[in-house]
C-alpha cells in the first residue's frame, strides 16, 4: 500500500551480526546510558521542604468568608449543598439571636456546616452556587489524617479567622469579570483582598 506520510519503516528480521550476537557491545552501550543518568538533574521534588508550583486558580481546601466587620457571610441557604455533585456538604441552619449581629451577617446562619473532604471532588460548583460570596476554594491542600472522621471538616476548620490580616486570600481565584463586578460598593468586603497579590507555595522547583 502507498505510504501517505513516508514515516513508516518496514520491519526486517535480519540475521544478527557477530558483534550483535555477542551482546557485549549492546550491554556496554546500555551501561553508558545508565551512567550518563547518574549526572543528570534529578526530577524528585523534596515535597515538604519544596512544593511543586500550583496554578493560581488551584482548587484546594474551602474557606467560609467573613464580611468586612468579621461577621460570617454564610446564611445556610443550602445552595452549595444542592449544587455539590459529590454530596459532600451538609449544614444545619439556626436563627440569629439579638446581639449576635457582629457574628452573623444575615438573620439566618449555619449552626453546623460540614464538608466531607473525602467526598469532595474540588470542582468549585459550591462557590459558583453561593449567592452570598461566602464559600470559596483556596490554594491550600487538605492535609492527610489517620481517621476517616477527621476528614469531615466543621466550621472550626472552614471559617476564616476574624482578624483582617489573618483572612484567607482568595483573590487569584476570581476572574477579571468577577473582580470588576465586585468593585460594586455593595460587595465592599471584597476590598479586603488584593487581586494582584501572588499566592501559592513560597519555593518553586
Amino acid at each position: 500500500m502507498q505510504s501517505l506520510t513516508n514515516r513508516s519503516k518496514v520491519v526486517v528480521k535480519k540475521e544478527m551480526s557477530f558483534a550483535e550476537k555477542l551482546y557485549l557491545p549492546a550491554v556496554a552501550k546500555g551501561m553508558m546510558i545508565t551512567m550518563s543518568h547518574l549526572f543528570k538533574k534529578k526530577v524528585t521534588i523534596n515535597y515538604p521542604e519544596v512544593e511543586r508550583p500550583r496554578a493560581e486558580v488551584y482548587r484546594g481546601q474551602h474557606v467560609l468568608k467573613r464580611d468586612e466587620n468579621g461577621a460570617e457571610r454564610c446564611t445556610a441557604c443550602g445552595l452549595c449543598a444542592v449544587a455539590c455533585p459529590a454530596e459532600a456538604i451538609t449544614m444545619e441552619a439556626a436563627e440569629r439571636k439579638k446581639g449576635e449581629e457582629g457574628l452573623y451577617r444575615e438573620e439566618k446562619y449555619a449552626a453546623v456546616y460540614e464538608i466531607n473532604m473525602l467526598r469532595c471532588i474540588f470542582c468549585g460548583l459550591c462557590e459558583e452556587a453561593c449567592p452570598k460570596e461566602a464559600i470559596f476554594l483556596t490554594d491550600r491542600i487538605v492535609p492527610t489524617e489517620f481517621e476517616r472522621d477527621d476528614f469531615v471538616y466543621g466550621k472550626d476548620k472552614l471559617v476564616e479567622p476574624t482578624k483582617k490580616d489573618e483572612r484567607i486570600n482568595i483573590g487569584p481565584r476570581q476572574t477579571q469579570t468577577t473582580i470588576d463586578f465586585k468593585k460594586n460598593p455593595e460587595y465592599a468586603h471584597n476590598l479586603l483582598w488584593d487581586p494582584n497579590k501572588k499566592i501559592g507555595p513560597k519555593k518553586g522547583h
Binding site: 551501561m31 543518568h37 543528570k40
Partner: protein
C-alpha cells in the same frame, strides 16, 4: 626481653582471631552500606534522589532498615519444617561470611619486628576452599525454599540451585585456567605473583594476561550471587519473592544480607584473582616502608573490591532479567564451551611458550 617474646607469641596466636573479627566486621559493614549505596545508586541512575530522610543524605538508612527488620513479627509457617526453615538462612549467612577467611586483604604487616599476614587462614588450597564454600551456599537457598512448603518458594529454590550448579561449571573451568596460569591453589601466592603492576614488558595482573577468563568468571559470579540479570531465583514479578517468600523478620534479612556479603566477597575474589589483589603500581618504590605498603595495599584491595561491587549494582540497574531458557542457553551452550576453549587455548599457549613441559 621475655615480656616481648611473650607478647609476640601472644600476638602470633591472637592476630588471626583479630583478623577474623575484622573481616567479619568489614564484610558485614560493607554489606550493610551496600544496601544503602545500591538504593542511592539505583535512584541516581533513574534520575531520583533515593533515601534521604534518615540522617544527612540518608546515611542512617541501613540502621533504620536493620531496626525495622528486627522489630518485625517473626512468622514460621505451621506447615514448614521448622528446623530446616531456620537452618536455611543460617547456612546462607554462614557460607557468605566464611569465604572471607582465605582472601589476603593486604601484604604482610610488621608489628614489633614480627610479620603478620593480613589473612585469616593462609591455607595452601585456598582456591579450592573458596569454590567449596561457595557451592555450599546453594544449600542455604535450597533448604530454605524447600522447608517453606510453598510452591513459589520451591520454584525459586529449584531455579536457584539449577542456575548455580550450571554456572559453577563454567566458573570452575575459568578458575582452572587461572590456576594453570599461576600454578598454585594458594590465594596469597596468587596475589604475590601479581606483584606490582608492570614487569618484563607486560602487566603483571592476571586480567591483562587472560581477559577472557575474567569475563567468564565475572558473568558466573553474577549468576552465583543471584544478581541481575541472573536474579531468577528471587524475581518478585514471577515468583512473589522466590525462595524467601515465606520468610519474615531477620531471617529474611539474613537472606538479603547474605546476597550483599556474597557480592562483596565475590568482588574481593575477582580483584584478587584478576586485578592484583592488594598490589598497586609503584609499590616497589615504597619497599623501605613495609607497613605503609601494607596499609596502601589493603586500601587498594578494598577500593578494587568496592569498584566491583559498584559494577554489580550498575549492571543490576541496566540489564533486564534473562528468560529461563536464555539463562540455561548462556550457561550450557556458550559459557561452558567458551571456557573449555579458553582452557585449551591457554594450555597450548603455555606449552608453546615453554611454561609447561
Amino acid at each position: 626481653m621475655t615480656l616481648s617474646i611473650v607478647l609476640v607469641t601472644f600476638a602470633g596466636f591472637w592476630f588471626p582471631l583479630i583478623m577474623a573479627g575484622l573481616v567479619f566486621a568489614v564484610s558485614l559493614g560493607v554489606a550493610a552500606y551496600s544496601t544503602y549505596v545500591e538504593r542511592k545508586f539505583a535512584a541516581f541512575l533513574q534520575d531520583r534522589l533515593g533515601p534521604s530522610r534518615a540522617g544527612p543524605w540518608g546515611i542512617l538508612q541501613p540502621l533504620a532498615d536493620g531496626v525495622k527488620m528486627v522489630m518485625k513479627e517473626e512468622i514460621i509457617p505451621n506447615v514448614s519444617n521448622k528446623f530446616l526453615f531456620i537452618l536455611g538462612p543460617a547456612i546462607a549467612m554462614l557460607t557468605a561470611l566464611m569465604t572471607g577467611a582465605v582472601i589476603p586483604w593486604g601484604p604482610k604487616i610488621n608489628i614489633g619486628g614480627e610479620w603478620f599476614s593480613l589473612q585469616v587462614a593462609d591455607v595452601n588450597i585456598g582456591v579450592l576452599y573458596l569454590l567449596g564454600v561457595v557451592s555450599i551456599g546453594v544449600y542455604g537457598i535450597m533448604i530454605g525454599g524447600w522447608a517453606s512448603n510453598n510452591k513459589y518458594a520451591l520454584l525459586g529454590a529449584l531455579r536457584a540451585s539449577s542456575q548455580m550448579i550450571s554456572y559453577e561449571i563454567a566458573m570452575g573451568i575459568s578458575v582452572i585456567t587461572l590456576i594453570m596460569l599461576s600454578g598454585t591453589l594458594q590465594t596469597s601466592e596468587i596475589a604475590a605473583q601479581q606483584h606490582g603492576f608492570w614487569a618484563d614488558g607486560w602487566f603483571t595482573w592476571n586480567f591483562f594476561k587472560n581477559p577472557l577468563t575474567f569475563l567468564i568468571f565475572f558473568i558466573c559470579a553474577l549468576a552465583e550471587t543471584n544478581r541481575t540479570p541472573f536474579d531468577l531465583p528471587e524475581c518478585e514479578t514471577e515468583l512473589v519473592g522466590g525462595y524467601h517468600t515465606e520468610y519474615s523478620s531477620m531471617k529474611l534479612g539474613f537472606y538479603l544480607f547474605a546476597e550483599y556479603v556474597n557480592m562483596f566477597i565475590s568482588s574481593a575474589v575477582m580483584s584478587l584473582f584478576f586485578f592484583g589483589g592488594y598490589n598497586f603500581p609503584f609499590m616497589d618504590e615504597l619497599s623501605n616502608h613495609p607497613n605503609l605498603v601494607a596499609v596502601i595495599g589493603a586500601a587498594s584491595m578494598l577500593i578494587k573490591t568496592l569498584f566491583f561491587v559498584m559494577v554489580f549494582m550498575w549492571i543490576r540497574w541496566t540489564i533486564p532479567r534473562f528468560r529461563y531458557d536464555q539463562l540455561m542457553n548462556l550457561g550450557w551452550k556458550i559459557l561452558i564451551p567458551l571456557s573449555l576453549a579458553n582452557l585449551v587455548a591457554t594450555g597450548i599457549t603455555m606449552w608453546a611458550t615453554g611454561k609447561i613441559g
